[in-house]
């Protein structure tokens, strides 16, 4: 091309300035000029000396409004009021005076007064009603802009008493010739609905408007219908509607597009051909530089291929480049969101981004939130071929100044060794490399980095016990370097575990035992375990040390747990070393490297999150039910289907609490009450959190299914006696949705009549001894609740004993689960 060639050599003058913002074309408002205008008029004066007493002065000023001759002066007065409002000063007292100036032809003043009205109308309904006439008159103004503005203000007043006046203008506006008015009217319907006013009369018209010639009207219509039908999962999606929308996909702006694509995720095409057609229609959208739209398309693709697993790989392949492009060029916040989605996709579809791992290397000058996120993604990308590269790269990050970054990098290195990359034949090799690196870091300087490396090393060795031989020689030296509590505890644990090959083990531990009081609590705990384990391996060397240790530990009053554990070991050993060994070394526990640790298993979450792709759920990595208040959730059509499915497939009779005793919630019971009732007994995973507005005590009676005696009391001795004599009636484990403190749990449980005998907080867990009595039958229930706080989410295990022979234990467990799971998400 000619131009290119010439301009390369001699770039002409105008180019110098052509990057400057250009004023709009003829007829459009030049922002720069108007800017100055505002500035000159307004100046800084609005925000100087803004005191409360000035509201009165403002009122006096407002009263002179009608006397002012020039428009600019009039505007100035109103502007001043708005300025005060912006500052957060309450100017609601001026409402009557503001109403007097509402009759104006000047659009600028109109806009400002309407803004004022929308903000303060609710403070004094009776007065505000006086403005209705003007607003209604404006709704039939000749200028569509004024009509739209008036309608928007009228519907935004949030006054119940006004609603009846609004109906008529709203009905007319829905038929307005102008699209701007129509789109405002459509949202107006929703605003009425929000005031709990019935809007069913508008529904037929809204459905018609889905065919409107203007895309903005259509997209607003979809939003409104979705919210009006929130109970049934949103607007009804028919083939007819869907195809019409898809055929004009190109006319929507990004926000409208997102609405349509969301709708598509609730539509099931009739056959394969239709699916392909739809996917072809959507494909071009992947080329837009709007990540909202791109992610929405990806979600649609995932939805459309729900029943066609064979197409999934192609879909993943197709959507990969656009995601990477967006990551390369977006704003940091946007990148964060996209990376969260990448992380999810890597979990849902391991191997998807493996080849692109270099694109996800951490950059030196990125925001920290992105750096940390990338560190959590990189180990997921490691395959047998790339693991070494990724480990080398991660090691680079360890040397950074940011300690947290270094720690996360070390964790990531350990993850590479315990996750997918270590499958098959290469597993040993990678394990060896990782161990080597970690040992190097571990023996570095005894700072936080070394400690983190020690913790990581412990996890890696659990998966790769063969690497212990290269670790054993350095453990003693590392321990001497000192470091953080956790790191030292890990080292001690390893010395105990691999004591047979750590030659100096007894002597290293002896030193710690003899300087007992200088150790931190975690170190003491692992020292206890380590010494006992080592005792079984090398009894002659350890016997004396162990004796001293048990004396120290049982006399140590700083930690209950330590004291109890020492006693336990002591009694075990008293029963005979062979028996004790059986208990302590309860068989090999090597974990399968390719499967990862049990606590990392997230299969179910991944599946659930697919339905919520491209929402906050992916960002938080948790289902929306866990963090979104109930009234904000659209009951999705799919989950309804799931529930009915679950009911149809199960033959186990649901264990239902005595529902007649308490008012039940109007929401359908989640599927927890059928075949998986046992695993999910406490209902933490799927229980709908009560709306945040409901206070905690209010939530209690709703879940109460058995009438418990709140004033029932037993003494400690009796409790202990019963606890030891009664058989266990029920035990269960469950994940908790929220991290409570001891006090909170105590309060919640007391609210339903489950009373606390004793409770305590230890390093790794909370422990509760609870009891309850059924008012009707008089039977007593004893409960032990242990919450493991080291896990994320917390896991609680509950065991119940009762004098009824097991009857009712499930109900109590369910009540307890209901209280802890339901309260105040």
């Amino acid at each position: 091309m000619n131009t290119t060639a010439t301009s390369r050599s001699a770039f002409p003058g105008p180019s110098q300035s052509h990057n400057q913002p250009q004023p709009g074309g003829n007829g459009s408002v030049d922002p720069a000029a108007t800017n100055n205008n505002v500035k000159a008029g307004a100046g800084d004066s609005y925000f100087v000396d803004a005191k409360k007493g000035e509201v009165n002065e403002l009122r006096t000023l407002l009263r002179t409004f009608s006397l002012e001759k020039t428009l600019t002066r009039k505007r100035e007065i109103i502007k001043k009021v708005i300025a005060y409002m912006t500052l957060g000063i309450d100017v609601s007292r001026l409402l009557p005076d503001m109403l007097l100036v509402i009759e104006t032809r000047d659009l600028v003043i109109k806009k400002m007064v309407y803004l004022y009205l929308c903000t303060y109308a609710s403070t004094s309904e009776e007065v505000a009603i006086m403005c209705i006439n003007t607003l209604m008159k404006d709704c039939s103004n000749d200028d569509p802009m004024v009509r739209g503005l008036a309608l928007r203000s009228l519907t935004s007043l949030r006054l119940k008493s006004v609603v009846e006046y609004v109906m008529e203008p709203l009905r007319k506006s829905l038929d307005d010739a102008n699209a701007y008015v129509r789109k405002t009217a459509v949202l107006g319907v929703l605003k009425l609905h929000d005031l709990s006013h019935p809007v069913t009369t508008f529904l037929p018209r809204l459905t018609e408007l889905l065919d409107d010639s203007d895309p903005a009207v259509v997209s607003n219509c979809i939003s409104v219908l979705n919210e009006l039908n929130a109970d049934t999962g949103g607007m009804e999606v028919t083939r007819d509607v869907m195809l019409k929308l898809l055929n004009r996909l190109g006319t929507f702006n990004e926000f409208g597009l997102a609405e349509v694509l969301n709708l598509l995720c609730r539509y099931t095409p009739t056959d394969k051909n239709e699916t392909f057609q739809i996917m072809n229609l959507l494909d071009p959208v992947l080329r837009t530089s709007n990540s909202g739209s791109v992610l929405a398309v990806i979600k649609s693709f995932l939805h459309l291929t729900n029943t066609m697993e064979e197409l999934r790989p192609m879909v993943y392949e197709r959507v990969k480049p656009p995601i990477l492009t967006l990551i390369a060029g977006g704003g940091p916040e946007q990148i964060y969101v996209l990376l969260k989605h990448v992380k999810y996709l890597c979990e849902a579809n391991p191997g998807m981004f493996d080849n692109e791992y270099r694109q996800l290397y951490v950059r030196y000058n990125e925001p920290t939130s992105i750096k940390y996120l990338k560190l959590s993604i990189l180990p997921k990308l490691a395959s047998a071929d790339t693991a070494v590269d990724i480990i080398t790269e991660l090691c680079e990050y360890v040397s950074e100044n940011d300690i947290r970054m270094a720690k996360l990098a070390i964790e990531a290195i350990a993850k590479v060794a315990t996750e997918r990359a270590c499958q098959g034949t290469t597993a040993g090799g990678i394990g060896e490399i990782v161990t080597g690196k970690l040992v190097e870091l571990c023996s570095l300087d005894g700072g936080p980095v070394s400690s983190a490396a020690a913790c990581a090393l412990k996890d890696v060795l659990r998966a790769h016990p063969n690497s212990r031989f290269s670790v054993a020689p350095v453990l003693g030296r590392c321990l001497k370097l000192g470091g953080e509590e956790k790191g030292k505890a890990s080292l001690v644990w390893m010395i105990g575990e691999f004591g047979d090959i750590v030659i100096e083990a007894p002597y290293v531990l002896e030193k710690l035992v003899d300087s007992w009081d200088e150790n931190e609590e975690l170190v003491k705990l692992s020292l206890l375990t380590a010494c006992v384990k080592l005792f079984f391996k090398r009894p002659p060397e350890m016997q004396a040390i162990l004796g001293r240790l048990l004396t120290h530990a049982t006399n140590d009053v700083s930690s209950q747990d330590l004291h109890d554990r020492a006693l336990l070991y002591y009694r075990l050993l008293k029963a005979g070393p062979e028996k004790a060994e059986k208990v302590v070394n309860g068989g090999e526990q090597v974990i399968e490297p390719s499967k990862g640790f049990a606590e990392d298993d997230e299969e179910a979450t991944i599946k659930a999150l697919r339905e919520e792709f491209n929402t906050l759920s992916i960002v938080y990595g948790s289902k929306s039910a866990h963090f979104i208040g109930e009234q904000y959730r659209l009951g999705s059509a799919n989950s309804v289907a799931e529930i009915t499915d679950a009911f149809a497939n199960t033959s186990v009779a649901p264990i239902q609490p005595d529902v007649t005793a308490a008012p039940t919630q109007p929401t359908p019971e989640p599927p927890q009450s059928n075949d998986d009732a046992y695993a999910d007994l406490l209902g933490f995973a799927d229980s709908p959190p009560t709306p945040p507005s409901a206070s905690v005590p209010a939530a209690a009676p709703q879940t109460s299914a058995m009438n418990l005696n709140k004033s029932f009391a037993i003494d400690g001795g009796k409790f202990q006696g019963m606890w030891q004599s009664l058989p266990e009636a029920s035990s269960s484990m469950s994940a908790m949705s929220k991290n409570y403190t001891v006090g909170e749990i105590d309060g919640l449980l007391t609210g339903v009549g489950i009373l606390t005998m004793a409770s305590g907080e230890m390093d790794a867990e909370f422990k509760f001894f609870l009891y309850a009595q059924d008012v009707d039958t008089g039977s007593v229930y004893l409960l032990q609740l242990v919450i493991d706080k080291m896990c994320e989410p917390r896991v609680c295990s509950l065991s119940i004993k009762t004098d009824t022979g097991g009857e009712g234990a499930e109900v109590v467990a369910k009540m307890l689960g209901g209280v802890l799971g339901n309260a105040g998400m």
């Binding site: 091309m1 131009t3 301009s7 770039f11 052509h18 913002p21 250009q22 709009g24 074309g25 007829g27 459009s28 408002v29 922002p31 108007t34 800017n35 505002v38 500035k39 307004a42 100046g43 800084d44 609005y46 957060g88 659009l107 600028v108 806009k111 400002m112 803004l115 802009m145 699209a179 203007d214 903005a216 607003n220 939003s223 190109g250 702006n253 997102a258 969301n262 837009t288 530089s289 990540s291 909202g292 992610l295 492009t325 967006l326 060029g329 704003g331 946007q334 694109q359 950059r363 030196y364 000058n365 990125e366 939130s369 950074e400 491209n614 906050l616 759920s617 929306s624 979104i628 904000y632």
Partner: protein
């Protein structure tokens, strides 16, 4: 949907706010202030946080946080996209670098923009061109009153990025191809990561509703018509590209031609990404040796690999030194270099760097002895530059054709520039 939107300064004061729904109260802003702004977490915190069951999605422009609050399970990237566009709109009205004061002084405008871009929590139109037409901004509207009929239809019309009836005396199109190169070299000189992200910026001043056709030396296209006039030339393989809304994507997928009716004025036509066959504009060889505890010797050689007809401007090379540096003796063949203690690095600046030339820098660094010796983390060496009329990917514009009913001729200007991306780093 967005329940509330506010602008907050770095002290945590609300500059201006607009509430769209009743489900959040003004006190949520307090939560954000206490937990994020006051806790000095804003720079390290994730940009999306849930506090008291409200989700805060925020971004920052200079010293102003733009915060959207919601309680429903929104589409986060769409909300961010809205915030970005909001900033863009404000930039168009208040200038590129608008400050808190600017915002405060134009609060009526801000309210208007708040109301027109979102209604009841649902984003409406954020197109600057269209917004300009119905934001009053305290100015008389008479000027545009006459074409009101066409105007309001435009606000929501199908081609919402361009008005009918635009006239220009001279029809001109400026095309800027901007590329930024990201590079990460290991200490041994192997490429760990390289990538070019390019964008084609356009500034159109065209009359009427012209249809434009645009072509790059995209490998797929070039190879297709190899038999014709472009025989022998090889194109650039573009990994992926995205387009402005105005480009008709159907036609791109069919035959990879980029066809569009442009908005008036400046816009970004497309973005692309290239990862293969990148011409790195600079080659750097660095030898940094720590001699004992108190001395570091640095030798850096930097070669410009592009054509000698071109030159790079504002080249800045940052060479890290330990933070306990006492003294630096620096020698360089050209440019200026000095030790900047705040950045713990030697900053080496060259105003102009001719292609095919090379420069050397040698430095002797004396360190202060430390009580506790701590290993130096050896951060990477980084380079900033811009090279006009050069593209690292090799992309160039093959043609731009403008078709309009009136058949006027158009002047087209093309400019290329390659800059260092957010990280052009070499590990040492």
């Amino acid at each position: 949907m967005i329940s509330m939107l506010y602008l907050m300064n770095t002290k945590g004061d609300i500059v201006i706010s607009r509430q769209y729904r009743d489900d959040v109260s003004a006190s949520t802003a307090d939560t954000f202030r206490q937990k994020i702004v006051a806790a000095k977490e804003a720079s390290t915190s994730a940009p999306i946080r849930i506090l008291d069951s409200s989700t805060f999605i925020f971004t920052r422009h200079l010293n102003i946080y733009f915060v959207a609050v919601t309680r429903s399970n929104v589409n986060p990237s769409l909300v961010l996209e809205y915030l970005y566009q909001k900033i863009r709109v404000l930039q168009a009205y208040l200038g590129e670098k608008f400050t808190e004061d600017k915002v405060r002084n134009n609060f009526t405008l801000l309210y208007e923009l708040f109301d027109e871009t979102i209604d009841f929590g649902y984003p409406q139109n954020t197109s600057i061109d269209v917004l300009k037409m119905y934001i009053n901004l305290g100015k008389q509207r008479q000027k545009i009153a006459e074409d009101q009929g066409s105007l309001t239809s435009q606000i929501t019309g199908a081609i919402d990025w361009r008005r009918e009836g635009i006239r220009h005396k001279r029809n001109e199109v400026y095309i800027d191809v901007l590329e930024s190169v990201n590079l990460l070299l290991s200490a041994t000189g192997s490429v760990l990561r390289q990538e070019v992200t390019g964008s084609v910026m356009m500034n159109t001043k065209l009359t009427g509703m012209p249809e434009c056709k645009f072509g790059l030396n995209d490998k797929l296209v070039v190879e297709k018509d190899k038999n014709s006039q472009h025989a022998g030339k090889s194109g650039v393989s573009i990994d992926d590209c995205t387009f402005h809304r105005c480009v008709s994507l159907g036609r791109f997928d069919a035959d990879r031609t980029i066809t569009f009716i442009p908005p008036d004025g400046e816009f970004e036509l497309m973005k692309y990404r290239v990862t293969d066959n990148i011409n790195l504009p600079f080659r750097i060889i660095a030898a940094i040796q720590e001699d004992g505890q108190t001395r570091v010797s640095i030798n850096v050689k930097c070669t410009a690999t592009f054509s000698e007809k071109l030159f790079a401007s504002s080249v800045t090379l940052k060479i890290p030194v330990p933070s306990n540096t006492a003294k630096c003796k620096i020698k360089c063949t050209m440019g200026r270099a000095k030790y900047v203690p705040e950045e713990s690095s030697i900053v080496f600046r060259l105003k102009r760097f001719q292609g095919q030339s090379e420069c050397m820098l040698a430095a002797d660094v004396t360190l202060m002895p430390l009580v506790r010796a701590k290993a130096w983390s050896r951060p990477p060496l980084s380079l900033d530059f811009s090279v006009p009329m050069f593209t690292a990917s090799g992309v160039h514009v093959r043609f731009l054709k403008v078709f309009d009913k009136s058949g006027y001729t158009t002047n087209r200007w093309v400019r290329y520039i390659t800059k260092s991306g957010s990280s052009y780093c070499i590990r040492i």
